[in-house]
Amino acid sequence: MTSPLIALIPLLPLAGFVVNSTMGKRLPKSVSGGLASLVMLASFAIAALTVWQLAGLAPDERLITQTLYRWMSSGEFTLDVTLLVDPLSAVMLLVVTGIGSLIHIYSTAYMHDEVDSEFARYFSYLNLFAAFMLVLVLGSSLPVLFVGWEGVGLCSYLLIGFWFKKKSAADAGKKAFIVNRIGDYAFLLGMFALFAMFGTLEMRGIASAVAARPVETGFGVLSLATLLLFIGATGKSAQIPLYVWLPDAMEGPTPVSALIHAATMVTAGVYMIGRNAVLFSHTPETMQIVAVVGAATALMAGSIGLVQNDIKRVLAYSTVSQLGLMFLAMGVGAFGAGIFHLYTHAFFKACLFLGSGAVIHALHGEQDIRNMGGLKKYLPVTYWTFVIGSLALAGFPFLAGFFSKDELLFETFAEGHQILWAVGALASLLTAIYMGRLVFLTFHGERRHDAPAAADAHGGHGHGHGAHGGHPHDAPPAMALVLIVLAIGSVGAGYVGIPAALGGHNALGAWLAPSFAPPVAAGRAVAGEAAAEAGGEAEAHDEEHIALERTLMSVSSAIAIGGILVAAFVWLQRREIAANMARSFAPLHRLLLNKYYVDELYEATIVQPVQAVSRDGLWRGVDVGVIDGAVNGVGAIVNASAGVLRRLQTGSVRAYAGSLFIGVVLMLGYYLWR
């Protein structure tokens, strides 16, 4: 069915952007911030309404579209801008608008110290980001998705480099944009390949066309196309090899990190694969690569996060790691599980980031956890919401993260990828450990931070609060409220996906299943297969499956709890163990601390050669030498020849007569010769 309301979902934030960018300077903070949050809430309301409408339809027909206009038509190819709401986009819509609204509200308090014009600029970018993200989610064709894809990349750049006067922030913004661009290039190539093969860029059209074909064996053109799309996803969703921008992106304001780099933008890659599930299912070679890359990234990022000392960096690497798990799920065909984890992760990661924002806010800009400690009694709300978020992330039983992570790992194991399961489990163990470390170092133990006025190392986060009696204050109401809501979500969000093993019927998986099936049921076998691969739990009713799942569930719980206990032991009781380990494994410690020197590697192998070619080759060689040289050379030639030729102007009449005569003689000679 169609609905005229869908367009409003991205248009409202877009309108917010227009207002705040043009008139923001003149508006007081309450108006600009309030307007931005209001449009987000309105967008959420309309999204909720649309989803409710969607739910009212039969499961096979859950599709609401709205065609806006014809974008391009060339020969026989036409492309309309069409917005589409189906179960998958419904989930994404609610996440983006819901968590987006919460973060807008949080930001009104967090960014309060900025001047009015900067405040408005922040909210204009945030709204613009929301608009583009919604376009990405709602687009029914790859080009429309790509518009959103690029747009969120742009907003990411704008927001990371929000405090652009600080060089590290400006550099981080550029790095994010350029690395994303590399991925986008691959994405474009993938799009071209798909267009060449299928003649259409509508994702549902591609899914139908692909479903009619057999699954590709070996690495063919289709696998190449999906691989290219996946490379684009590695850029946007920070996987190996294009993840390097995400840790640096922490230079941006913390709510930005929460929204863009935890809950929404980085999940775009996962969403894209989910949206094209049928296509990807037909290319097992690429799926294998996706799964391996996801698992490897999860492990690598987890190991780096273990030794980082900046509170936001730990969370950033944690995000990369969790995204890796999501891609692992998508790669083994558990599309529903991947989206489930995306959804729960949005809650607790946003909660954690915002909580860290509250900590930073309270400590006036301090971000190094070695300088924190003992904050538990000063920041109770922050502490408890942070703890809940951490437990959810670690996979503590019966919190949101537990269900999604467990399902993900179970699917991996059930599909036969035991090694990848082991890697994922190891990554989860690391997650538990480093989150425990983070909580204990930040909030527990004796207070290591100085009086608030002192530390202002990170972030252009100037604070007006002078005297507080010397101890940090908890989050202001706007921030606290959001933290609490997100904490509740971290607990309860998982209950929509309770697996059969525990007595539930995985409502989320069933809800999402139609999105991962081919649009037209081209034979029950194919549809059944896709549904089975996608949702996961819909048919797993045999005892063996359930027993296996319960076993794995207990393993995951053990890992989570065990990890937290290890962290408690080391960082709560015997800090010296950590120091001793760092000393005895010093090279390894250094390797992890320096992020496996990947940035340095890229710098040496890619950045420096490109710069050298550009500077010496293209700039000095071509631009200055050839082009300028040619232009200047023409001038110089004219100059030189003029210098020579002007000697003809001797002013002497006889010389002129002489030249006349020479001409006569020559012409005469010529004609006589002929």
């Binding site: 102007q649 002497s652 006889r654 007569a657 005569f661």
Partner: protein, 100 residues
């Protein structure tokens, strides 16, 4: 009977003498005189050809050439007078204001 070639050789000689005069002399009046010599050489060859071909056309052309030569001599001499008034010299090398 004088062959035509003889007349033409004489004409060529005269022309060459006139040319040499233009380049060798450092007095503009003498240069003009050399030019007159050249014109006369041409006249001679025209008349010779005309006689050879049995028409009066050669003489008519000569007639015109003479007229033009007269006009040109008049104007040229007027120029020389004007120039002489500015530079007080009849040496063509004195008039090099247009030198680069």
């Amino acid at each position: 009977m004088i062959p035509l070639s003889h007349y033409l050789i004489v004409s060529a000689l005269l022309f060459a003498i006139g040319t040499a005069g233009v380049f060798l002399r450092k007095n503009v009046i003498t240069i003009l005189l050399s030019i007159e010599i050249m014109l006369n050489a041409v006249n001679l060859s025209f008349v010779a050809f005309g006689r050879y071909a049995g028409t009066v056309d050669g003489q008519i052309i000569t007639f015109f050439v003479m007229t033009v030569a007269a006009a040109e001599a008049a104007v040229g001499l007027a120029l020389i007078i004007a120039l002489f008034r500015t530079r007080e010299s009849l040496n063509p090398d004195a008039f090099t204001s247009l030198k680069w």
